[in-house]
């Protein structure tokens, strides 16, 4: 029997910063094709990742039924068990560990595998554990901690940005460490940027790599290559030029900011006898002083101008500093609170649509995300807040995506019990004692909204029945809640939850949302951060302790930590540029175009878009006898990974780059053979909030 093809609106809600429309073409319960938004403008077009979703759903490696470990931990040896046995075992282990060690011995390590409103992996697991007496948590965001901290200390809020549609009002945009063409950073963000450029917004891109974003957006010769980890030095030198040439907006600084004079004293070298001149910065950043002067003048004299900070530069040692320095520049140029400007803060706007509610966690114990492995290994004896005995992981390829994988492999041998919810046997899932198979997004119903830059809701209708024996995280926790006597965990159907979310989120017609698949929230004008604070400071102080933009932060002064000074400074990073070192190459591990974190790393259609390869400048390759396409070892004291070299002029000499997200595949010698870059990265957090510092990493490369 051949039925008609049904076109079912759904979506791709992984953690890339975008949330996109997918249309599943389904016949007889099978997805035959996937298309995207071809409706009214503005369309929400999916990228290469979401377009390949059919290969995710029907991947031969999908986990099909519950598994129990049958070999040594990490061996990947499992036997099939029934759902009843799996749920009874998990419930039994949860009870046993809680009774024996207390709730803080259970770590809920759910991650961003699904970023929707109902089946949102961190939300579902947190609701369960918090309703069951609490659990230990990981603290510190992997992606955005330093810029969120910097934004909070400077502006009093964690997020301060304009809608991307405001870019059309900018005469100049400085895209700093910004690679939205590959990372996505909001569906249509790059499309808006490109159209703004075509309509006359001049654009500068500052990045150690000549990215696809630089190629797309940087005006002729307005790509600036910079030594990784030195962004704050370039910014401070720009401030120097503005001061020296009288370009700073003194009236703005006087009226709206706190402590600019202390910053100026540092910039001019009054405090330390070292003026932060363009010549000083050239030696550090590799950016010619003439370019620094020109950039500073351009930014100071073109109004309005938007300084947009991406996240790469702050996933680094002292990542707070370039963010705070960028905000100081935004204030010096008076580009805050006006259309076309930008406060250079963290990009985020919360959605009006609620998520599955999560009650507070009765347990206060946390461990820093960046030090998770150290905390597992050392526990309370090492000064951490808990001894982890049971790890519950959902939507999180923890081992692969955190720094220092080899320490993580040791750490995962430590807890008594590991439970993993997954769609595939990821490097993390291989270490589980029990693996529970999870449905993909096309096998369940949900709502997705974007976490910044874009105001629409996507209705993700269920396109097909769950594959094999897969269940949703929510269905699994609902079963566990019954076994553990948690009342009220989930007393609605998925549809009932979603109908309530949509209504509370102000979406007028639920049935129309389901039928169309996308709802655009009405938006008369793009959001401008701090508009009221600038227009009427008497009645609208900034939400900081002083009511001003705190270029000098008394709170940071009180903290008294030399690595987060009260004014933004350039601080020489650990594992920064130092060619005298044994491992002299700076290694970047950016988000690439073939994964969303580690999702899609096993999807062939996406992988063949671009081979996974090490970016290396021909100059660095020549001194090591490496030819294009050679298999190389990338190594440092923490580990070794093997991958092919790509000789390209698109990366600064002295820097190499390997996209993160590719799945660990260790050989018998312990070396990774899949280019899984976190075998090399360092497990140290940023000072204020334990943010990740992946990009402060040195390595050496050699032919194999």
């Amino acid at each position: 029997m051949t039925s008609e093809v049904q076109r079912i609106p759904t979506g791709c809600p992984h953690d890339c910063g975008g949330k996109c429309v997918l249309i599943a073409h389904v016949r007889n319960g099978v997805i035959e094709r996937i298309t995207s938004d071809e409706g009214e403008e503005p369309q929400v077009r999916a990228c290469q990742r979401g377009r390949a979703y059919r290969q995710r759903v029907y991947h031969p490696d999908r986990l099909k039924y519950p598994l129990k470990r049958s070999g040594p931990r990490g061996s990947g040896q499992f036997i099939r068990i029934s759902w009843d046995e799996a749920l009874d075992t998990v419930a039994g282990e949860l009870l046993r560990v809680k009774q024996r060690y207390g709730p803080e011995a259970i770590l809920c390590a759910s991650g961003p595998g699904s970023l929707t409103h109902l089946h949102r992996t961190p939300q579902v697991a947190s609701r369960f554990f918090h309703m069951w007496g609490g659990c230990a948590r990981l603290r510190g965001a992997r992606s955005t901690q330093a810029i969120a901290d910097a934004t909070r200390y400077t502006y009093g809020v964690e997020a301060a940005s304009h809608d991307i549609e405001d870019i059309y009002n900018s005469r100049l945009a400085l895209l700093w460490s910004w690679n939205s063409a590959e990372t996505v950073f909001g569906t249509n963000t790059t499309w808006h940027l490109r159209q703004a450029r075509e309509r006359g917004t001049r654009m500068v891109v500052i990045d150690p790599r000549y990215t696809d974003t630089a190629a797309l957006l940087a005006d002729q010769s307005r790509y600036i290559g910079i030594v990784p980890g030195t962004d704050a030095a370039l910014m401070v030198a720009m401030a120097y030029v503005m001061l020296e040439e009288g370009l700073a907006d003194r009236a703005f600084l006087e009226r709206y900011t706190l402590g600019f004079d202390q910053f100026a004293a540092y910039v001019l070298g009054e405090a330390d006898g070292l003026p932060k001149t363009p010549a000083w910065a050239e030696a550090i950043t590799g950016v010619p002083q003439a370019t620094i002067r020109e950039l500073a003048r351009d930014y100071a004299t073109t109004k309005p101008a938007a300084l947009l900070l991406g996240f790469g530069m702050q996933r680094a040692a002292y990542g707070e500093q370039p963010c705070r320095a960028g905000m100081a520049l935004a204030a010096m140029t008076g580009n805050i609170g006006l259309p076309g400007g930008s406060p250079a803060g963290m990009f985020q706007r919360s959605s009006p649509v609620p998520k599955l509610p999560v009650p507070p966690n009765p347990v206060s114990a946390t461990i820093p995300y960046q030090l998770w492995a150290e905390a597992f290994l050392q526990g309370r004896a090492g000064g951490f807040e808990t001894d982890v005995q049971l790890v519950y992981i959902s939507g999180n390829n923890l081992l692969n995506q955190q720094a220092h994988i080899n320490k993580g492999r040791q750490a995962l041998l430590k807890p008594e019990t590991i439970v993993v919810h997954e769609q595939f046997l990821t490097p993390t899932a291989r270490y589980a004692d029990i693996v529970l198979p999870i449905t993909t997004h096309l096998e369940r119903e949900d709502i997705a909204t974007i976490w910044h830059m874009g105001h629409w809701a996507i209705y993700m209708n269920q396109a097909i029945e769950p594959m094999y024996e897969c269940r949703s995280d929510l269905a699994i926790f609902t079963e566990l809640a019954k076994r553990l006597g948690i009342s009220g965990f989930n007393d609605r159907t998925d549809r009932e939850w979603l109908r309530a979310f949509a209504a509370e989120g102000g979406i007028p017609d639920f049935d129309q949302l389901r039928a169309r698949g996308v709802y655009h929230f009405p938006q008369s004008q793009p959001h401008i951060a701090f508009r009221k604070q600038i227009a009427d400071p008497e009645h609208h102080p900034f939400p900081t302790p002083s009511g001003k933009i705190e270029i000098y932060s008394p709170a940071l002064a009180k903290l008294g930590h030399p690595d987060v000074p009260p004014i933004p400074k350039y601080i020489v990073p650990w594992e920064g540029r130092d060619q005298s070192r044994e491992h002299p190459l700076q290694l970047l591990s950016p988000h690439g175009k073939t994964t969303a974190l580690s999702t899609y790393a096993n999807i062939p259609w996406v992988q063949e878009v671009e081979p996974h390869r090490l970016w290396i400048n021909p100059r660095d390759a020549a001194t090591r006898g490496i030819a294009d396409g050679d298999k190389v070892r990338v190594f440092n004291s923490r580990g070794t990974t093997m991958v092919r070299a790509w000789l390209t002029q698109r990366i600064m000499p002295g820097v190499v780059s390997l996209d993160h997200g590719h799945w660990l595949a260790p050989n018998d010698d312990g070396a990774d053979t899949a280019g899984s870059v976190n075998v090399l990265t360092r497990d140290q957090g940023t000072v204020l909030g334990d943010g990740a510092t992946y990009h402060s990493c040195l390595a050496e490369v050699a032919r194999t």
Binding site: E32, R33, I34, T35, S36, E38, R45, A46, C47, Q48, R51, A52, R54, Q55, A181, E182, T187, N188, T190, W191, R194, Y210, D212, T213, A215, L216, S221, Y223, I224, G225, K593, P604, W605, V606, Q607, E608, V609, E610, N617, T648, Q649, R650, I651, M652, P653
Partner: protein
């Protein structure tokens, strides 16, 4: 005679691969080396003065297709009503490759069966009044398609860059603009 054609703005292209993946999904092309549509990037210059050129790969449905002349069995034809170049896989001689040798653009593709396959301008979509899937998919709106005369009215005659093989003989149905 109407000639269906593509438009490509390389300056808008980020080589994200969405067109290639969308094409593979729509046409059910397995992963592997067969691509009816893809982008190639060439690189010039020395860091930091780098320049990228994006090249559109796939059948360009030429006005005077070299593949048709080269095919020894007449398996390739040009459809009268819209100028789309089509291959009859039943007639194609497996592992012959004469069309591939003749095509200046490397468009003909060969799967495991050794028979030529390539872009067919998404006939099911044309029938619905939709543009080819690669056009509808592009997140940067770098692609368009339609009758050549309409594309010329919208985008002008474009410009044929040096990176592409000669266009005077086959007259490919592609308009490209450059900044």
């Amino acid at each position: 005679m109407t000639q269906l054609a593509f438009f490509f703005d390389p300056a808008r292209c980020t080589a994200c691969g969405t067109c290639a993946v969308a094409c593979k999904d729509w046409n059910n092309i397995p992963d592997g080396p067969v691509f009816w549509r893809r982008i190639e990037t060439t690189e010039e210059g020395e860091f930091p003065e780098v320049h990228l050129q994006r090249l559109l790969r796939g059948c360009l449905h030429c006005a005077r297709p070299a593949c048709i002349t080269a095919c020894p069995v007449g398996a390739i034809t040009k459809r009268a009503e819209d100028g789309v170049v089509l291959v009859d896989q039943e007639r194609c001689v497996p592992h012959c490759y004469a069309c591939w040798t003749a095509c200046p653009y490397g468009a003909p593709q060969f799967g495991d069966d050794g028979r030529m396959q390539m872009c067919n301008f998404c006939p099911e979509r044309l029938a619905e009044g939709a543009k080819p899937i690669c056009v509808a998919a592009c997140p940067l709106h770098a692609l368009d398609a339609g009758p050549m005369d309409e594309l010329v009215r919208t985008y002008g005659n474009g410009h044929w860059p040096a990176e592409y093989p000669d266009a005077t003989a086959p007259l490919p149905s592609l308009i490209m603009t450059f900044e």
